[in-house]
């Protein structure tokens, strides 16, 4: 404890000295998120590396250096609001980058609307926030989310259902195991209303479980009793409990779906290997995702700089790294962050295409306010650009399906354009 405390005090004191020394104009970036979660750290470190690189290249906006100010939310909603206020009023930052989870972002959003500070969310994919941009384009103008929103995530999953689960595996029926949260309900709704009819998979039953469930044995028994061909899980809170019990109980039924805990490289270590066979959709770039040279360079820098978890940044780390640079570029064009509307206009135009082997691999851009996405027939203003139809020429898909094998490998299994391995069922499933 003393060590950590001293370290904290020292670094704070050093930061104080440094900022006192550099009395020239500087750009202040605020980070809001949990400093003790892999998620929060991914965004924080992604932003930090981008800032280091920009500063090393002579700064931004005519040579201004960027400083990063951290505000911890502890993944607590009220602390999140306080953290946002701290960044806005005490630290007086120019731009905020967020690695917040859904309810924390929703908590501080009214503050963002009030302060009109340019803000980029890299983790939450809640479509409700994009709806807020649709409804209040002016108040939400400084807000951007550079991860595909969850509606888009789920939509691509339907194709996975048709192409792989139905066509390749030959499964006709499913039982949904969904957690009792807003996220669980939203995804369950999409699966029941879209996956089933489009892919021709019958939903035998939907079992909603309490997120505090200790013992999943009766729930798995209930799922088996429906006689469905496979289980579709929807789990964002304590997801490793359900997946590890699935593995420990060797439930003789295939399971796929959404399992948020399996999105990071630490999944294997954290579950002690009790996570083999689990597949989940993941935002891009996921673990096991082939990286373009620019993103790979980022990971190399990251690994040279940090030796604590996460060993590889989560998708939001990439989003923060590329997104922060885009935000600075937009500020360069708009003459800074002060005029939030001007910055917002410039940010909308940011478009970074990362190529791999001569073709478009990843694209960091945003949907325009009036652009209607063809598959879902709706607009996604200020949301990361994605492409829902093969061969993904406009942008990368909204998500990929990844799978952890029983020996600890992880790879992308869908869509085929991005796949590194084949979808399979665990060995104990016949």
């Amino acid at each position: 404890m003393t060590r950590i405390l001293t370290k904290g005090l020292c670094s704070a004191a050093m930061a104080g000295l440094l900022s006192a020394g550099a009395a020239t104009a500087e750009v202040k970036v605020g980070f809001i998120g949990s400093l003790s979660s892999d998620t929060g750290r991914s965004t924080l470190r992604g932003a930090q590396i981008a800032i280091d690189e920009l500063n090393a290249n002579g700064g931004v906006m005519g040579g201004q250096q960027i400083t990063l100010i951290e505000a911890d939310t502890g993944e607590d909603v009220t602390e999140g609001i306080k953290a946002y206020e701290y960044l806005a009023e005490t630290a007086e930052v120019d731009f905020i980058i967020s690695g917040s989870i859904d309810d924390v972002s929703l908590g501080w959003l009214p503050r963002m609307q009030e302060y009109q500070i340019p803000t980029l969310d890299t983790w939450t994919s809640y479509i409700g926030i994009i709806d807020m941009v649709v409804e209040d384009p002016e108040g939400m103008a400084p807000y951007f989310m550079n991860i595909a929103s969850d509606e888009a995530l789920a939509t691509l999953y339907i194709n996975f259902g048709a192409d792989v689960l139905k066509a390749k595996m030959g499964w006709d029926s499913v039982v949904i195991l969904a957690e009792d949260t807003a996220f669980g309900q939203a995804i369950t709704g999409l699966v029941t209303e879209a996956l089933a009819p489009v892919a021709g998979i019958e939903v035998k039953d939907t079992i909603i479980y309490d997120i505090g469930t200790v013992d999943f044995a009766p729930i798995f028994s209930k799922a088996q009793a429906t006689g469905a061909d496979f289980i579709y899980q929807v789990s964002s809170v304590n997801s490793q409990v359900i997946s590890s019990q699935y593995v420990k109980l060797q439930v003789p039924m295939a399971m796929t779906g959404v399992n948020v805990s399996a999105l990071g490289m630490e999944y294997w270590e954290d579950t002690g290997g009790a996570g083999g066979g689990i597949s989940t959709l993941s935002p891009i770039p996921s673990v096991g995702f082939k990286l373009d040279p620019a993103s790979q360079a980022f990971v190399d820098t990251y690994q040279a700089k940090y030796d604590t978890r996460p060993v590889i940044p989560h998708f939001n780390g990439f989003n923060a790294y590329h997104g922060l640079k885009q935000a600075m570029a937009a500020a360069d064009e708009a003459g800074g962050f002060k005029d939030a509307m001007a910055w917002s206009k410039a940010m909308e135009k940011q478009d970074l295409i990362l190529e791999m082997d001569g073709k478009m691999w990843l694209r960091y851009g945003f949907w325009g306010a009036d652009e209607v996405e063809e598959v879902t027939q709706r607009t996604y203003p200020h949301n990361a650009r994605f492409d829902l139809t093969s061969p993904y020429e406009d942008a990368q898909p909204s998500m990929v399906v990844i799978q952890w094998t029983e020996d600890g490998d992880v790879g992308v299994v869908y869509p085929p354009e991005y796949a590194t391995m084949e979808f399979s069922v665990p060995s104990w499933v016949k």
Binding site: M1, E85, T90, G107
Partner: protein
């Protein structure tokens, strides 16, 4: 105990609130934002104190009451476009009704068991908000974009200060009367109060209604200040922890105590932020709270009182 209200008291209140009113000219907006949270926490702590600090019925479910007030007005104004002028009073009434629900177990159980049943109330509410009508409550994500009453730190500050000031003075004046004495007496020996010919059920019910009413007012204005509401922000052990610790660290059974406690805790947490941005902050914050509580369970108020006694004693 039952000293009369004197001009000196009123002058001190005027000095305190007047000084607070001048603060926006002296400190930055960031500090004001911090004080706003302290003001609301002070309201919650005072409300807890009326209900628990005085009567000794320790409530571990106070967030239940605050949450009911907050959710009622949030749902009414956000989902049904009810004007805030109506939704807030309705929220307060609903919270007071919930306070009576809280009161039912207090008829039969006290002490440890009462604390536990209130904790169960809070946990139940946490579960129910997510399950029942998520289309209204917003489920786990809650509601964002609830109408805010003020914009900017200064306005928010004055609103919260006015609320806290009015509540503090009203409660203080009420507790200066024989009623306050009787409520404190319940905390010391309930049978003897009943044995003095006083209807303790009625007194407790009144304390619960006042406590719930204040919690409802606080919760309703709080949500219209935050602009968002989520179950994890309200029905949470950490929130409960902050309220109780504020009341106790400051000094239960006083008005100034919970206020002082709320300010102390909020500022402690905020001033640690630049030095310890991460989880260390909660560790230090909790440890300081624990040590203070162990050192003097009656709180800062008692520590200062003793110190003053020692000083004046030394002078005399």
């Amino acid at each position: 105990m039952s000293t009369q209200i004197t001009w000196k008291h009123l002058a001190l209140w005027a000095l305190f609130l007047g000084g607070m009113a001048l603060l926006p000219m002296l400190v930055g907006k960031g500090t004001l934002r911090t004080i706003i949270f302290a003001n609301y926490l002070a309201i919650f702590a005072m409300s807890w104190d009326v209900l628990s600090g005085r009567t000794g019925y320790i409530s571990f479910g106070h967030p239940f009451l605050i949450g009911i007030g907050a959710y009622t007005t949030a749902i009414l104004s956000y989902r049904f476009d009810v004007p805030v002028g109506i939704s807030i009073p309705v929220a307060v009434i609903v919270t007071m009704a919930a306070g009576t629900l809280f009161f039912l177990p207090a008829l039969r159980i006290k002490g440890t068991y009462f604390a536990l049943v209130t904790l169960a109330f809070m946990e139940l509410m946490y579960q129910l908000v997510q399950v029942i009508r998520p289309d209204l409550t917003g489920g786990t994500r809650g509601i964002s974009g609830v109408q805010t009453l003020t914009r900017g730190a200064v306005n928010g500050y004055y609103l919260s200060l006015a609320l806290m000031g009015v509540i503090a003075i009203s409660l203080w004046a009420m507790m200066k009367t024989r009623l306050g004495t009787a409520l404190s007496a319940i905390g010391m020996n309930e049978e003897a109060v009943e044995g003095s010919g006083l209807n303790t059920t009625k007194l407790k019910l009144f304390a619960f209604m006042v406590g719930a009413g204040v919690a409802g007012i606080g919760g309703a204005f709080y949500v219209h200040y935050l602009g968002s509401i989520a179950p994890r922000a309200l029905f949470d052990i950490n929130f409960l922890f902050t309220i109780i610790v504020a009341a106790l660290i400051g000094g239960a059974s006083t008005i100034i105590g919970p206020m002082a406690g709320a300010f102390f805790l909020t500022f402690l947490l905020e001033y640690l932020r630049p030095f310890l941005p991460g989880a260390e902050r909660y560790f230090i914050y909790g440890s300081i709270a624990l040590i203070l509580y162990m050192y003097e369970p009656k709180g800062l108020y008692e520590i200062l009182r003793k110190a003053r006694e020692r000083l004046t004693g030394a002078n005399a």
